[in-house]
């Protein structure tokens, strides 16, 4: 299978970097970690903008190893910087076309398609100086895509924008993700962004890679900081089974169970992503008879971790046998003890809140 393989080590400025990971060359891979942990340094090394010892190959194509170092302009990348970094002396149209290979090399990503996807048709003849922050970033994304990259690198493309503008751009990113078969590396320190966009995750701390793998796996790994953080959650890819026309409640299937979620009309058979916060999942030994909580799922306690704030985070496997999708639950140490909960025990997971976080995509 084609992968993005990276192994860099060395010092950049005062910074010690030791980054090694291999992720599938498809979908969105988020590089996630606190500010200053070396995410941008890794991405710049992949692009060839910085040079550290190590290796880098994308889908079998070696960009760097002991012998070779391919210069930036010979790597088939698209790079979206934190600030849009448009060329101020060129119109939006000429910015978009700057990296386009021209008629001869016109590739799979067409001008009209991108302009439509990003909603920038009415900006084409304008100067980048007269665009809003969100418009600039959309043009920058389009410009990167039109250079026909084999790998799109996005360095916190939303971090310079306010929340409203972020919410305006995120749907475009999701559309890209659904419409293009192009692997994307996406740097973020915002877990909400990651939960919406990412398929795989590379977790970084202090210049090193802690773990990498599918998003839901890393989210539910109790040995990683993500599962113990304040806003710990799991992302579940679910299929829309049915929807009640009267009250809008949709039934979505995940491995080992179903979730009922109130929603705008959904298309049956499509995939949606659900997010369930650990704080929103409480545990019961028997199914509660009368309650406003609509989602009560059978599950098994797979693993537990006590935290210093006298709370317990438990990893649950859905289904009677615990073989289904993973959920996280966070309860107080006191209720844990009072119910006599322990690893391996079958329980009922009461889920107070489920969020639909990603636009629909057709069933693969």
């Amino acid at each position: 299978m084609s992968t993005v393989k990276v192994d860099f080590r060395g010092t950049l400025g005062r910074f010690e970097l030791n980054a090694r990971f291999e992720v599938p060359a498809r979908g969105v891979t988020a590089i996630f970690g606190p500010s200053g942990c070396g995410k941008t340094a890794v991405m710049r090394c992949i692009a060839g903008l910085n040079r550290l010892d190590g290796m880098c190959s994308v889908a079998g194509d070696v960009w760097q190893d002991e012998k070779t170092f391919r210069p930036v302009h010979q790597r088939p990348i698209g790079y979206v910087f934190q600030e849009a970094n448009l060329f101020p002396h060129l119109s939006v149209r000429r910015n978009l076309m700057y990296g386009h290979p021209g008629k001869a090399g016109a590739g799979a990503i067409g001008f009209d398609e991108i302009v439509g996807l990003l909603g920038i048709a009415r900006l084409l003849e304008r100067s980048p100086r007269h665009l809003s922050g969100g418009e600039r970033q959309r043009v920058a994304i389009g410009r990167a895509l039109l250079s026909q990259p084999k790998l799109l690198l996005m360095d916190e493309p939303l971090s310079a924008l306010d929340q409203m503008t972020k919410d305006e751009i995120l749907p475009y990113l999701e559309r890209l993700h659904a419409a293009l078969v192009l692997p994307i590396l996406y740097i973020s320190h915002d877990i909400a962004e990651v939960e919406r966009l990412a398929d795989q995750l590379v977790l970084m701390r202090n210049g090193a890679v802690l773990a990498s793998g599918p998003l839901s796996e890393l989210q539910s790994d109790l040995s990683l900081p993500l599962a113990l953080s304040r806003d710990a959650a799991v992302s579940l890819d679910a299929t829309v089974l049915k929807q009640d026309a009267a009250d809008g409640m949709a039934t979505l299937e995940v491995g080992g169970g179903y979730f009922l979620v109130p929603a705008e009309p959904l298309t049956l058979g499509t995939r949606r992503r659900l997010r369930v916060l650990a704080d929103d999942v409480s545990l019961a030994l028997e199914t509660p008879s009368r309650s406003t909580i609509v989602n009560v799922l059978r599950a098994r306690i797979l693993e537990i971790r006590s935290q210093s704030d006298h709370r317990v985070t438990a990893l649950l496997g859905l289904g009677e046998d615990g073989q289904g999708a993973r959920l996280l639950s966070r309860v107080t140490q006191r209720s844990w003890n009072e119910l006599g909960l322990q690893q391996g025990l079958p329980v009922y997971a009461q889920v107070k809140g489920v969020a639909l976080v990603r636009r629909e995509e057709p069933l693969a």
């Binding site: 692009a47 903008l49 210069p71 930036v72 302009h73 010979q74 990348i77 698209g78 790079y79 910087f81 600030e83 970094n85 448009l86 060329f87 101020p88 002396h89 700057y98 990296g99 290979p101 100086r129 410009r143 990167a144 250079s147």
Partner: protein, 229 residues
């Protein structure tokens, strides 16, 4: 006072414009790579090079002129160069004047271009590289247009400074009519020979010229700050 203006007055004007134009062209060709290197290099000794380029700013023109006279004279490298086409020396010749003017006006061209390259920063060039532009293409399509106010300022300053040069020219060019006698030297000569009319016509012309140059520069600067904000 004699109100008749000598027709000779045009000769130094033409010579000065020729010298300044040629000097400016050479300075753009030589100064641009130097400015680029100074703006982008991380070599620790680059400021030493920058200081060397800037020396004419503080050096008395006669000092530079003296060394140039030695260097361009029959026993210097300039003389050796001149012997290739059978001449004895580059001193007191038009090519000698051009060499002197290029060195003397260098900082006025290199500094604004370097500043413009530095103000542009690395980012546009990095963006261009990630869009498959070779360094050569990125330089011409991104760096040069973005730094164009710096080029314009450099060209104007280089030209104007060459027009106004006196000390260096006097040392290495002397005052040979039609060959090395430029405006500023001509004014000096007219005063020496009490041709006040010619001197004041040329002097007034220089005042108007200088005013126009400074005004143009200020307008460019204003436009530059507006476009970067």
């Amino acid at each position: 006072m004699n109100l008749h203006v000598s027709a000779d007055i045009w000769q130094p004007i033409r010579l000065t414009l020729e010298l300044a134009a040629l000097t400016t062209v050479i300075l753009m060709l030589v100064g641009t790579p130097i400015a680029w290197w100074l703006a982008r290099s991380r070599a620790w000794w680059k400021e030493a090079v920058a200081a060397l380029v800037a020396i004419p700013l503080v050096l008395p023109p006669t000092v530079l002129g003296f060394y140039l006279l030695v260097a361009l004279g029959p026993s210097g490298p300039g003389g050796a160069l001149a012997s290739l086409w059978g001449a004895r020396t580059l001193a007191f010749t038009f090519p000698g004047l051009v060499i002197g003017s290029v060195l003397f006006s260098m900082p006025f061209v290199v500094q604004p271009i370097r500043n413009a390259f530095e103000a542009m920063g690395e980012k546009p060039m990095e963006a261009a590289a990630t869009l498959r532009a070779s360094p050569w293409r990125a330089f011409w399509t991104i760096a040069v247009p973005l730094a164009s106010p710096g080029f314009l300022t450099g060209a104007i300053l280089g030209f104007a400074h060459t027009v106004g040069e006196f000390g260096v020219v006097l040392m290495i060019g002397g005052s040979i009519p039609g060959r090395t006698k430029v405006l500023s030297v001509a004014i000096y000569d007219y005063v020496e020979t009490s041709q006040w009319t010619e001197a004041s016509v040329l002097a007034l012309g220089m005042v108007v010229f200088s005013f126009a140059v400074i005004l143009t520069m200020m307008l460019i600067e204003k436009k530059m700050t507006k476009s970067t904000s």
